[in-house]
């Protein structure tokens, strides 16, 4: 299963590789490496997507790799958060990172978006090496992690208008209105961000990701501070984004969100003893 994950394959191909891997066992050099690679990572694949004509393997071959992570390592002093972590995410795939608090989900996501520097390994987005300051990366990757900041003197709707225009959308009014409606921030459209509640700020952060073009969406616990209705909306929205071909990587503690959105689940860290 772990081998399947490293090679970025989905269910069918993954199963075949897992059977081979089990047969070869520890005698295989690659197998030994992988058992080390995932010392702290357990992966599990779930719910197959509806298969397009031609079968899963044929569709896999057509799907472009959006995110490729190889041998990522991050440690804080003697405490290794993850080591030799590898992952491949293709268009239309949604990877859910789960695990207890402190398992390294947010650290991993921060390394993926370039907000934190990994000690070793590489991250590529659409074939470009991940550099946080690269305009190509910023064009392709939409992120919602904890460090999102807002201009204190621009209103909610002006933030969304600015982001859409910055990404080249010349007439963003319709899109902005649609997203505002969806995140239920229409009444707050003229408010300055400092006056928003924590839940509304979260909705605004999510809206910033939906109002612009994107190929990869990276979200850190997007359900945080959302009410039940909000979590339901988010799950359907992310599912629809995935079905339209967006690649998604997200960390979550919300089983309903993970079940609805994820095509693969990666559990980080050992389970609580």
């Amino acid at each position: 299963m772990l081998l399947a994950q490293e090679l970025g394959c989905n269910t069918l191909l993954g199963m075949a590789i897992v059977v081979m891997g089990a047969y070869l066992g520890s005698q295989s050099t690659k197998g030994t490496c992988l058992s080390e690679c995932y010392s702290s990572v357990m992966a599990q694949e779930i719910g197959p997507d509806p298969l397009p004509k031609g079968g899963r393997i044929a569709s896999m071959a057509k799907r472009a790799t959006i995110l490729k992570v190889s041998g990522l390592r991050r440690a804080f002093g003697p405490n290794t958060i993850f080591e030799k972590f590898s992952l491949e995410v293709r268009t239309g795939e949604a990877i859910a990172l789960t695990g207890r608090n402190g398992a390294g989900k947010s650290t991993l996501l921060r390394c993926l978006v370039g907000a934190d520097r990994a000690d070793d390994g590489s991250v590529e987005v659409c074939g470009n090496a991940m550099t946080e300051t690269s305009p190509e990366i910023r064009r392709d990757v939409a992120t919602v992690i904890d460090d999102l900041d807002f201009f204190p003197d621009l209103s909610v709707v002006e933030h969304l208008d600015l982001l859409a225009r910055a990404h080249g959308i010349a007439e963003p009014d319709e899109l902005v209105d649609e997203v505002l409606e969806e995140v239920q921030l229409v009444p707050q459209s003229g408010q300055l961000p400092g006056t928003l509640s924590s839940g509304q700020r979260r909705r605004l952060a999510l809206a910033t990701a939906f109002v612009r073009p994107r190929k990869l969406l990276i979200l850190d616990e997007p359900e945080q501070r959302l009410d039940t209705e909000g979590v339901g909306w988010l799950a359907q929205r992310l599912k629809s984004e995935r079905q339209k071909g967006l690649a998604i990587v997200f960390a979550s503690h919300e089983p309903a969100l993970v079940d609805t959105v994820a095509t693969r689940i990666i559990q980080l860290g050992a389970a609580r003893g």
């Binding site: 807002f150 003197d153 225009r165 990404h167």
Partner: protein
């Protein structure tokens, strides 16, 4: 008698004690209790703490003595000056200080309260069944006294530095101190009825008066008009101001004391939270963070704006938004316009040589509020990550509008460098223009450096000192911006061509705006080290493989 009855007699119920209502503690008792707890947790007394930091205490004493000495010397020197410029400065500058102090006192009072309570007090004391007015009275008195003292120091200092005599210094100290105290009491009285419009209006009026007074100094020095009548009535006017301020102080203080009990907890605790946030930021010498907190608070007070449609796509959209934000909050431009007077005043007062540095420092302070966009884009990186541009281009777009403002400032200050006051250095137009541009560049770039400052990294190696270890960034953060001002204007101060200053400004701009900041350099260094380590490992592996093959 049944056993039951006997039992009842034997064990007759004692009459329950009458329930007496508990007497609530007085605010004074509660404060004493809190003080007792706090002092009980202290591990060192004041003398021991001062003993630990004796170097700092001696340093402060020495610097204080030097400052007093400098002031006294300057006072003696300037007192001998009898030119029209000196006389006008002596007559008008105390007025400017007076108006500016009142303006600052009103603005600070409106921002912080002036009556405030900490979050802990809000939770534990303000809900207790005690008189809120009694609890807060000491806060009001403290704020008024602090304003009185601060105002008196400013009034005395400015009056002394313009060469006034002792009596004049005392009069201006009293007038400025009392007016500052009256402003705080007035703001407190307004706070009690939750009205701030008058305080707001008064802040602007006194701010404009201060600016007008500064322009008058320049006007008199340039010979545009004369204010000779002020020379003889300065003390009398000062005494009138003392009387008027005293009257306002007493009336406002009485009103404020009566209304103290009506101030809502949210308002009290809000001011306290702002103070604790700002003081925490100052404790870490992170002045940028302190400013962020104040800016956020002001935006929260405004709360709602009428949304405006953006324009253009790409970076143009960002520049257009900067322009709209400036229209929405134009106060910083007024402050920048106010600093235009600095090079003229410096020249008029015979300080031609120091004009570039004084003007650059003034512009540096005034430009910081204009760089709010740059601050947001660089402080966390979260918003910059959402925009499809390199950091260098984002920075350039963010300073486009402030750059235009600085260019206009340079044009407006060029005549000051041509030679303005009596005995000022006369320069040809090209040189004066270059000096104005270099000074504007120094002020703008200094503000850019200050705005981009990151918080102190407490994880970095520490420097040992008598007062304990501290990260080097703690000290260097204090000089951010000032260093660019000094470096850029140094050639002009030393009499070299302004081209040298422009060259230094260009280098500073390349470093500050081209993403070649310390953080990026560190990242590049780490990447290079990683590659070097990988190459070393490859070589070691290859050598080991060769060795094994040989065996």
């Amino acid at each position: 008698m049944s056993s039951l009855e006997a039992g009842a007699d034997d064990f007759a119920f004692e009459e329950a004690p009458e329930h007496k209502p508990l007497t609530p503690a007085t605010p004074r008792e509660l404060k004493r209790l809190i003080k007792y707890w706090r002092s009980g947790r202290a591990t060192r007394n004041v003398l021991q703490a001062m003993g630990d930091a004796y170097v700092a205490v001696f340093g402060a004493a020495m610097i204080g003595a030097m400052v007093v000495n400098v002031i006294l010397k300057a006072q003696r020197t300037i007192a001998q000056c009898n030119s029209a410029t000196c006389l006008s400065a002596r007559a008008i500058l105390p007025w400017a200080a007076f108006a500016a102090t009142v303006g600052v006192a009103l603005a600070a009072s409106r921002l912080f309260g002036p009556v405030l309570a900490s979050a802990a007090e809000g939770f534990w004391l303000l809900d207790a069944p005690i008189s809120r007015a009694k609890l807060l009275r000491s806060r009001l008195v403290g704020a008024v006294l602090a304003a009185l003292l601060g105002g008196a120091v400013v009034g005395a200092l400015i009056s002394a530095l313009t060469g006034s005599g002792l009596i004049e210094v005392l009069v201006w100290a009293g007038a400025t101190g009392l007016s500052a105290a009256a402003s705080v009491a007035f703001a407190a009285a307004q706070q009690g009825i939750e009205r701030h419009r008058l305080t707001h209006l008064a802040t602007y009026v006194f701010g404009l008066l201060a600016l007008g007074a500064l322009f008058s100094v320049v006007g008199v020095a340039a010979g545009w008009f004369s204010l000779g009548f002020l020379d003889n009535v300065g003390i009398e006017l000062g005494l009138i101001m003392i009387a008027a301020s005293l009257l306002v102080l007493v009336l406002s203080a009485v009103l404020a004391a009566i209304r103290l009990g009506q101030i809502r907890r949210t308002r009290l605790v809000g001011g306290g939270a702002l103070v604790s946030g700002v003081s925490g930021a100052f404790f870490a010498l992170d002045i940028g963070l302190a400013r962020d907190i104040v800016v956020e608070r002001r935006a929260m007070e405004r709360g709602h704006v009428r949304p405006k449609r953006g324009k253009g796509v790409g970076l143009e959209a960002l520049i257009w938004r900067e322009w709209q934000r400036l229209w929405r909050f134009p106060q910083p431009v007024i402050v920048v316009a106010g600093t235009i007077v600095v090079p003229y005043a410096a020249d008029a007062l015979g300080m031609s040589t120091l004009t570039p540095i004084l003007a650059a420092l003034a512009l540096f302070g005034a430009m910081i509020p204009l760089l709010g966009g740059l601050r947001v884009l660089t402080r966390t990186g979260g918003l910059a990550r959402c925009l499809p541009f390199s950091l260098a281009r984002l920075k350039l777009a963010s300073i486009a509008v402030p750059g235009i403002v600085a260019a206009v400032w340079a044009v407006a200050t060029t005549p000051a460098y041509l030679g303005f006051g009596d005995g000022a250095v006369q320069r040809p137009v090209p040189e004066a223009s270059l000096m104005a541009v270099a000074t504007a560049a120094a002020g703008l770039l200094a503000a850019v450096r200050w705005t981009q400052a990151k918080g102190v990294d407490f994880g970095a190696p520490m420097v040992a000192s008598q007062a304990g270890a501290f990260p080097p960034g703690l000290v260097t953060n204090l000089f951010r911006g000032f260093d660019v001002c000094i470096l850029t204007t140094a050639p002009m101060l030393l009499g070299f061509s302004p081209w040298w200053s422009l060259g230094i400004a260009a280098i500073a701009a390349a470093i500050l705006l081209n993403s070649m900041d310390a953080e990026t350099l560190r990242a590049r260094q780490a990447e290079q080290q990683k590659q070097l380590a990988a190459q070393k490992k490859e070589r070691a592996d290859a050598a080991a493989a060769t060795k094994q093959r040989k065996r």
